[in-house]
């Protein structure tokens, strides 16, 4: 059985799934991503901060909607490690 890794919010703020309204989302369900890849942005104090994953694998769930408010520790994305 493969392990599910949860990418959590390291800071509170507003979550963005894409760099700009015209760009593709950073990650979508089914994507294969590597450790260090950006999964989204958290805007706080007028700064956009990339959130990266420490584990590579396949994205199985994007938990948070674009522009949702997030708190520290909220799960953003679930990844099947591999």
């Amino acid at each position: 059985m493969s392990e599910i890794h949860e990418v959590t919010a390291p800071i509170p703020g507003t979550f963005y799934t894409r760099e700009s309204p015209a760009s593709d989302p950073y990650v979508s369900v089914g994507d294969t991503i590597a450790a260090g890849d950006t999964v989204g942005l958290i805007e706080v104090m007028k700064m956009f901060n990339p959130v990266t994953t420490e584990v590579g694998g396949t994205v199985v769930e994007v938990v948070v909607e674009a522009e949702d408010a997030v708190d520290v520790g909220d799960v953003l994305v679930r990844i099947e490690a591999g």
Binding site: T14, K46, A69
Partner: protein
């Protein structure tokens, strides 16, 4: 109390490995220049800032690092005692967790880091002797918008090198393990009441609308920073009809330009209140519905985004009593050891 140690005379270097989200040098701030457009700056939560220094045995207003929401990684060149107060961000030394609100030691070549901010918004890191940056207009505080004070007038960046100073208190640096009593720590809740005094422009708001403003729960927006705290989620204000006075704009929230007190609550277009804090601009043309009392400004400095806030109207006498209570709290800190 530890005796004066000749090997501990300041001059330790602190290398910024990672800067954190917004880490700035702060102290008590600079008073007396706001009328020239230079705000006080200084630690947003003055109680936790002073507690960090007093706990460590520094002079009360030695310069510290204010770390907003995500802490930095700092490498020390020599053994240095450190105390972290304010937001709950577990300090780590070379990755090993240490206690907050406690005097800890970072060894030569070791790195001080921090866990996520699980409560509160700003941790204060006091290092023995304080952070040695030049005083500008009587303060070492960083005023980022003006590029003034602190380390090169800005938040820290990776690769910056800071130096410790000689602002140790008369009793010397505290022993490792000394703790800040629970009763002297800043409470860090996810819901806060802020006391305010209505004025000077509350007459612009329809009375029922002002009443509703004071009963609703507001949410701290993600934009909230050292300049101001923007709040969301309440009902827009309803203004009294008028002819705009000379010099005021057409928006019903516009006034003829006036001074903005620190703590004043402006409501641009009646929509999202902004509480001005220690890096505020000193004047402008938005009506202010009231002013948060001075005793509650420290609390605001510990509100992360998404915190729920309500306003409670108090009288000037109640505000002055709260100010006296805060002064008594500070006095308990000064005499705790």
């Amino acid at each position: 109390m530890a005796p004066a140690d000749p090997t501990r005379q300041g001059g330790t270097t602190i290398e910024v490995v990672k800067p954190g989200l917004v880490t700035t040098v702060q102290d008590q701030g600079r008073q007396g220049f706001y009328h020239l457009g230079i705000p006080p700056a200084g630690a947003m939560d003055q109680l936790s800032f002073r507690a960090a220094n007093l706990l460590l045995g520094n002079e009360e207003t030695a310069a510290v690092l204010e770390c907003a929401l995500m802490g930095p990684e700092l490498r020390f060149s020599a053994p240095t005692r450190v105390a972290v107060t304010g937001a709950a961000m577990t300090p780590t030394v070379d990755g090993e967790p240490r206690s907050g609100n406690t005097v800890i030691e970072v060894g030569a070549g070791q790195t001080l880091g921090f866990g996520f901010a699980t409560a509160g918004a700003r941790a204060y890191v006091a290092v023995e002797g304080g952070i040695d940056v030049p005083e500008v207009l009587g303060s070492r505080s960083t005023y980022g918008l003006g590029g003034l004070g602190g380390h090169e007038g800005r938040a820290l960046k990776a690769g910056d090198v800071l130096r410790t100073g000689s602002s140790v208190g008369a009793g010397g640096v505290a022993d490792v393990g000394r703790e800040l009593p629970e009763s002297l720590r800043m409470p860090l809740g996810k819901e806060r009441e802020l006391r305010m005094i209505p004025g000077l422009y509350d007459y612009r708001v329809v009375p029922e609308s002002l009443k509703r403003f004071l009963t609703e729960t507001w949410t701290v927006g993600s934009e909230a920073d050292r300049v101001g705290y923007r709040l969301k989620g309440g009902t827009p204000l309803e203004f009294v009809d008028r002819e705009p006075p000379f010099g005021a704009g057409d928006d019903p929230s516009n006034i003829t330009d006036a001074c903005y007190p620190i703590g004043s609550i402006q409501v641009p277009s009646g929509k999202e209140p902004i509480i001005l804090h220690r890096d505020a601009v000193s004047g402008g043309g938005y009506m202010m519905v009231g002013t948060v009392i001075s005793a509650d400004m420290d609390v605001i400095g510990q509100l992360p985004p998404n915190t729920k806030v309500t306003f409670t109207e108090v009288t000037l006498d109640e505000a002055l009593q709260a100010r006296a209570d805060r002064a008594a709290h500070l006095e308990r800190l000064r005499t705790a050891w």
